[in-house]
Subunit: 417 residues, 2 copies
């Protein structure tokens, strides 16, 4: 397991403000790790609405199934809600005992928090296939409930880490009507992806009064160009979970109640909300296992945005492109290969490729005017932009990834055993 | 560039018999490498038929486009055919100059061999995006024509290597009617895939008298479970080329002329032909860049063979599965992840997973009876079989790959610069 902090870690960590209606606590329940916290409790006041998006895996974890069932019959609870997240064990591919562990965790939490089990949301991250011993939460949850406090955001971001090398937080403040509302988010990554101890989890909280339906719509559209546009290694987790909670507490300070995502009063909020998701998603890419360079893949001139996305993902997931970036090699031939294998409309003789703004290929051949020394220097940067223009239409998209280093192989080859 | 021979190289290299109607020669034309051969000429007697399958890349190389055009108006030539293969430069993404280089190579060869440019087949492998200086073939081809001889099979396999660590040859002898016919094949790999100096090329030759149409049909069906079932790193080359040549010389010894692939007299030949393709394809997997383990992925119980193929490819292309194999870790949780992300029908609670015959997971959870020590020992083997049974239907498929090692990253990160 890598312990050195990623060289791409943000240097500027924001002060996380409190959000009315949200209280947090963390503890060391000894799920797997020693000497660190591994369980997070978030208590949400009565009236809080919830939305969620989850992995598209056909083999999702027990907590993902649990949350989907809760959202299906979602209602705003009179007694409040709770979110429990543990790291160290994903409770995935654990069969019947996995469902029982999820139920037991919810029961223990409901009892401690004084609400119903159906008001509890769960997420787990860590090893796949090992039974989760939920009895370890006995007693721990009672303590967490009594310790919960509005300021523990950094503690919360720490408790959900697995192979992450830094905690991921983001915040924004924005006007809703004439009232300032706050959006806080935390995430864990190390992949969007599923190394067996790293799954993508993220939780976003706001005091804005937004109905569950509107919040779900916001979340679904917000994720498309943020979390869904990040890839570390193309491996989709069984546990990917992004939950959003809106306590509505800002309503008491005059914020209007929003029931439609298309409400014009929500415009600034939508932008800020997406900004928080984008910030967290970029931090996930910056903490990709073994990452030494953040890679932004831009595809322009495709026949559609969907086509541009497929080509951008093909480039971003190509082991040969990613190892070339690790080797600081502006290997545009591999970018051509990745464009070609995507199966989307592309005309070789119209392609141009740029690395950090320097055009290295145009009209289907090497750009005769490009300066190898200039490009080599640019490739030493720790942020690399690969832009491909197809010259076919107006489709554009952007995907974030990182390079593929020997460290990635070491982390994932030496890991479980 | 790796120079040590892959530990997975076959220990048994066959003696390659001559094939009537095929003569071979190699030379060092100085395309890119120093001190080694980099051009192969195969001369094929009048009456030879040709078939070919190529990369599905939307950005194919100039030689791929050249061969496709030749096959489109294929006819059996009265003056014979020639195949010219060079290593060191793929003549891919070279624009108009690439097409000119292909044409010039064909013209030089046609003049030297006394046939038409439209009777010349071309393949190139090596760096993408660098202009190929075909004038280097001037003079060289004349010498090759005069040196061509029926026995130079190992020389031929050597001349087409790039990052390959061993030459790849296979042979079979089989009865067609009452006459013995021979099938010889050579290949280069290091990927099925496109590191910028490794593309998959393979050439198969036989003296059996088979029409072009029947040969094309044979080749198309033969490739499905052989070359198309191999993946090193999911990166499809711009230059993948597999050509088959049938000289028909065995006709003079009494072999029946075959004009339909479904001809019952062809049954043993079809089996032997596929055997040669399968042998070469496995050698490609054994020489995957940085490979230390050959990995056979078997999926059973899928809803169809096509579904089994998609799931097998998802497992075989997963960086996390491949790094786990490199780390000798029977990490079945990552196999579950790869099944889940394939998007094909799968029921988590019906899955079973085996490593080298040892069941480690069943019915959606860890197999309680599996012995970690026994599995750990099995994982030290240099051939690893991952079998997944889905329990849904009768669809079965098999894909070959190799592990993902630090050496792969080193080869591809340090390569071009």
């Amino acid at each position: 397991m890598s312990t050195a902090i990623s060289p791409l870690a943000p240097t500027d960590v924001p002060d996380m403000p409190e959000i009315a209606g949200v209280r947090l606590a963390t503890a060391a329940a000894g799920i797997r790790y020693k000497g660190r916290t591994d369980v997070l409790l978030a208590l949400l006041d009565a009236g809080t609405t919830v939305a969620g998006v989850f992995t598209r895996s056909r083999c999702p974890s027990a907590p993902v199934e649990w949350c989907r069932a809760r959202l299906k019959d979602a209602h705003s609870s009179r007694a409040g809600l709770a979110l429990v997240v543990n790291s160290g064990n994903a409770n995935a591919f654990t069969g019947k005992t996995g469902r029982q562990a999820a139920k037991l965790t919810a029961d223990i939490t409901a009892k401690a928090a004084g609400c119903k089990a159906s008001d509890i949301y769960l997420a787990s991250t860590g090893v796949i296939g090992e039974p989760l011993d939920a009895t370890k939460f006995n007693g721990v949850l009672e303590t967490l409930v009594s310790n919960a406090a509005p300021h523990r955001w950094m503690d919360a971001a720490h408790a959900i880490m697995t192979t992450d090398t830094f905690p991921k937080v983001a915040t924004a403040s924005v006007k809703l009507g004439k009232t300032a509302v706050t959006i806080n988010g935390i995430a864990k990554g190390a992949g969007m992806i599923a190394p067996d101890m790293a799954t993508m989890l993220s939780f976003v909280f706001t005091d804005a009064p937004i109905t569950a339906t509107a919040l779900q719509s916001l979340l679904k559209s917000g994720v498309e160009d943020t979390f869904n546009a990040v890839t570390i290694d193309s491996d989709t987790s069984t546990s990917d979970t992004l939950l959003a909670f809106a306590t509505g507490a800002a309503g008491a300070r005059g914020a209007p109640k929003i029931s439609r995502a298309s409400d014009p009063r929500l415009k600034a909020f939508v932008k800020a909300f997406r900004g928080v998701l984008a910030d967290l998603a970029e931090q996930v890419a910056r903490d990709g296992e073994g990452a030494r360079k953040l890679v932004e893949v831009i595809v322009e001139g495709a026949t559609s945005k969907a086509s541009a996305r497929k080509i951008a993902k093909s480039i971003a997931n190509s082991p040969l492109v990613k190892t070339a970036i690790a080797g600081e090699d502006a290997n545009w031939g591999r970018v051509v290969m990745a464009v070609g294998k995507a199966g989307e409309p592309a005309d070789r003789d119209k392609l141009s490729i740029y690395f950090n703004g320097i055009r290295v290929a145009k009209s289907g051949a090497r750009d005769p005017s490009y300066d190898e020394a200039e490009v080599s220097k640019a490739m030493k940067n720790d942020r690399i932009q690969i832009k491909t223009t197809l010259g076919l239409g107006k489709g554009r998209d952007r995907v974030l990834t990182c390079d593929l280093t020997k460290e990635y192989v070491a982390i994932n080859g030496d890991y479980r055993s």
